[in-house]
Symmetry: C2
Subunit: 585 residues, 2 copies
């Protein structure tokens, strides 16, 4: 019971002081979340109130199910972009079908997360490698920023790839609306400054650093209030400034998400991608914050909590939610101690839908676009490509492919290409493990790679060390490797497989070993094993292989050498390094 | 040049003795191949002459491009079944569209093999694990045998799954044709006996074992000749015995395969599956035979040779071909020394299409069905399931799934399910490597798993040994593992990652290490590494990680222990095992 409801754990020791801290954090997060939830609804192509709805029920559910003490869930930039891309394929913005598809996306994503949680399939997220996720988020940030430029410029444009979006913007450049541009630039400039300059300004005035950081987070609400006021005072709507317009007030009505199998089939793949990307981000944020206070999160339970949050969103007319990075950090810095802070934030958002919506009528879309642009540009980190290139070219290739395909063909194609390429590279690497032919180091019982060290080998014995477990991706490679040695050495009489790095042998590798044993036997060559680990030996004993093996199993490689080339092994052991480099095989 | 045309290698030293041996082998293989090629065309639902065509050009192409000295290519049972399954979805048997689709399948498969050969993608075949391939071939054998029963019974039936086929047979049981049944049972019985009894009979009469084995391979031709004679003499066609009928004589006319992108898209997946299954079988046979004479084959060049053979088949009106197991063994046993034996076999088959086809008119289909049944039943090895279960349950599960899905839903679904499941299990295993918390063995500098050995640990140090390279599938697992240790030990001050089994670190794992380092630092814990291998260290030096690392990098784990808990490490080293088990941490 407690495993699935962490609230039973932290709820029992909930005291007055914790309550105070959680409530303070909730107030600050609420102030930050109001403009964000409106902005991400806009990004997803949905009515503004849907963003508010997605910031109520999901937070309550997460408070009951989540294991992270500081994670703040809700609408986030990348998932909103992915929602827009998925739903935009199926219906036109502003139609009930568009909204229904977004709700269904949250529902399916919730079901998938729950299923992964109960089936303990969280490991699947591990196949989204860091370079792919990093490239994907950078590229998404660029697409999102570009897509918001139309609101800043006040021109019509659409599209889900960078090329489409930029094309639309250029085509509309002659229709730029100057009042909109003025508001957009001012808001962007102010918000950008608030991220760095404001903090320094406050600090210079003697405000403590932590409080200055939290205060700077109120900048978006200040921008919202200021631009609403300006738009209303100067009647800018008449001058062509696009505004949010009427936002229905009142709490969301609980409703079933659309039950439509055809629709579900159409959005299954996007839902899966949103699920995995959202989960990876959520766990990563939650782990980082938990570590700061030496707390633990349970990644499998996080799947369930995030799944519940998405179902909560779907049943209250919202769209897909995940754990937000900036928001969770603010929550943490503001002193949130338990998930109850999230529940209090939900209450704050509910109050906003009840009483604040009339004030949002004159909110310019350009302000929300500015909020989004400033938020997502911090996600873009193209320098990561250079750093990754220095470290690993395969990883850099996967990252570059993800970025390019995302920019050119959209988010879904980008993430599929990235995961596909990194899995492909993984399979390729796995199928060709490092293999060394080893010889004895003179004066020792050690055996080292003949290509790197001055070692001694017997002419009729070859020792192959495989630096990897033996399983099906490399079983054939092993056969080819042994066969190549036999083909190349006509004098060969013994092959020793040195298994010091072999942690496991599966049925394919066993069959390959049997085949190798048989083929070597046909060619008059004996097969031996050395340094087989205990668990591997236990497993081999359950098969016929040890019975059929033409040679022996030696505890150490030196034992093998002493048995197969006794004179040479002992001479090499006795002799100094220098002497034997001259005489030895 | 020689890499791509192995004929330039062996052709230069081609002498009279080799010629004689190759020609003898070719005669024997031709005798075996005539009934087989007719039978497999029947199995694929194609006219009999298509089987002959597929046994001419492909053999000539393979002789030029192949690296195996004894491999005999041509139509085989499993690929023919897969062809029937793929093409049967698109067109009705006997139509030009059906034949065209089969030719296109050979063409696409040839193109895929060539592409894999030039791009060196042969490793992809490694992902068809032994249990999956074994289960798939057993299940295919059962389906093939069942599908041929209709010819033995003389009843109409069709279908691509065991259930469909058996259903059709039961429904037709009242229409059994007795003369057909008599011929079918007699041929099956004779052929079955020829596999064991005939050899013993000949051996008892003083025929040398090898010659007895080769003679028994003529049994199918004997059965063909005898049943043709009986059918013709007694006019059994009128009694309802289905016969092959008119087979056009003459060599195949070179022609382009159908150029139809829609068709290609429809058969792309089956073509890929035939490609991979065919390649795996081919390489496995070729390796086995090469080993017997200490020869080498080049797996990448085999892709090109098999690709060329399939293109040869497609351009001469044939269907997909691969290396046949039984046929290659006969070729080898009959003394074939070079791929020229295959070219001579092609000449033999060409002569057959020119002069033998009139004799095949009265050939009962029941005889061909008997040939197929006896051939494929030797492929069925359900005992492998039990043996695999004893060795590895995960592998047995993949094998059982492949068998069941193949029988119940057909060959394509079966192989996709098997590969999918084994990849899934592989990814699962990879993402959760073996990890041990280790402590010092008293009286030594060795460190062992605390769960298995009486070892000493310091209360504020935890040493984690990861028995796997660090890369993206297990990067998150590593983070979780470290985090769990920190959460569980409030007194912890040092984490040591013992990297003795880490052969590689990719960008994802590097980022995880950086994250772990940062999180531990936030929690006041220092991170250290020990026993980092040279190449891994070289790579880490190209990143910022070593600069940011809060702790040190120690050559040995004992060095780490001596630095972090000097008193305990030295006391443990000095003390006897028994004393320390009592006093130590």
């Amino acid at each position: 019971m407690r495993r699935y409801f962490p609230i039973l754990d932290w709820g029992r020791s909930y005291g007055r002081e914790t309550l105070t801290n959680d409530m303070i954090a909730a107030v600050i997060v609420t102030i930050m979340l109001i403009p964000q939830s409106l902005a991400y609804a806009l990004l997803a192509g949905l009515p503004a109130e849907v963003g508010l709805y997605a910031s109520i029920a999901p937070l309550l559910v997460y408070a009951v199910l989540g294991t992270s003490r500081a994670l703040a869930v809700g609408p986030v930039a990348v998932a909103s972009l992915m929602t827009a891309a998925a739903v935009g394929e199926l219906a036109a913005q502003g139609t009930p079908e568009y909204l229904g598809a977004a709700i269904a996306l949250a529902f399916l994503s919730g079901v998938m997360l729950l299923a992964m949680g109960f089936l303990r399939l969280g490991f699947l997220a591990a196949f989204l490698s860091h370079p792919v996720i990093s490239g994907f988020i950078s590229a998404s940030g660029l697409i999102i920023a570009a897509s918001q430029l139309k609101h800043i410029l006040g021109v019509p444009a659409s599209g889900h790839t960078l090329i489409e979006i930029l094309g639309g913007l250029f085509a509309g450049l002659d229709q730029v609306n100057l009042p909109t541009l003025a508001i957009g630039l001012a808001a962007t400039g102010f918000l950008y400054w608030s991220r760095g300059g404001l903090k320094r300004y406050l600090a210079n005035r003697g405000v403590p650093a932590r409080r200055a950081g939290l205060l700077s987070r109120t900048a978006p609400v200040v921008a919202v209030a200021a631009t609403v006021l300006v738009t209303w005072l100067f009647g800018l709507e008449a001058a062509g400034v696009a505004i949010v317009g009427d936002v229905p007030s009142g709490l969301p009505t609980p409703a079933l998400p659309p039950f439509d199998l055809t629709l579900w089939a159409q959005i299954a793949v996007p839902a899966l991608l949103i699920t995995i990307v959202g989960y990876v981000e959520t766990v990563s944020v939650a782990q980082t914050l938990a570590a700061k206070r030496r707390q633990r999160i349970d990644p499998d339970q996080e799947l369930i909590a995030l799944g519940g949050a998405n179902l909560g969103s779907a049943f209250s007319g919202g769209f897909p939610v995940t754990g937000g990075f900036a928001r969770s950090v603010v929550n943490f810095d503001a002193g949130a101690e338990t998930p109850a802070a999230g529940a209090f934030t939900a209450v704050g958002m509910a109050l906003a839908t009840l009483y604040l919506t009339p004030l949002l009528h004159y909110l310019p879309k350009a302000t929300l676009a500015a909020t989004i642009i400033v938020a997502v540009l911090s996600l873009v980190d193209l320098g990561a490509l250079r750093r990754t290139w220095a470290f690993s070219r395969a990883d850099a290739a996967a990252m570059a492919a993800t970025i390019l395909v995302t920019l050119a063909a959209g988010v879904e194609a980008g993430i599929v290409a990235g995961v596909g390429l990194s899995l492909f590279l993984h399979l390729y690497r796995t199928s060709r493990p490092h293999v060394a032919i080893v010889g004895q180091v003179p004066g020792t019982e050690h055996f080292r790679n003949i290509d790197r060290h001055a070692v001694v080998t017997a002419p009729d014995v070859v020792t192959i060390r495989i630096d990897e477990s033996l399983y099906f991706p490399n079983a054939r490679f092993l056969e080819d490797t042994v066969q190549a040695q036999v083909g190349a050495n006509p004098r060969l009489r013994h092959v020793v497989l040195m298994c010091s790095a072999v942690n496991d042998i599966d049925a394919s590798a066993l069959e390959s070993l049997e085949t190798i044993n048989q083929r070597l036997s046909d060619a008059g060559v004996t097969l031996h094993l050395s340094e087989v680990k205990g668990p591997v030996m236990d497993r081999l004993k359950r098969s016929h292989f040890l019975h059929d093996l033409t040679g022996g199993v030696f505890l150490t490689q030196f034992d093998a050498m002493r048995a197969l080339a006794p004179d040479l092994a002992c001479r090499t052991l006795a002799a100094g390094r220098r002497d034997l480099a001259r005489n030895g095989g």
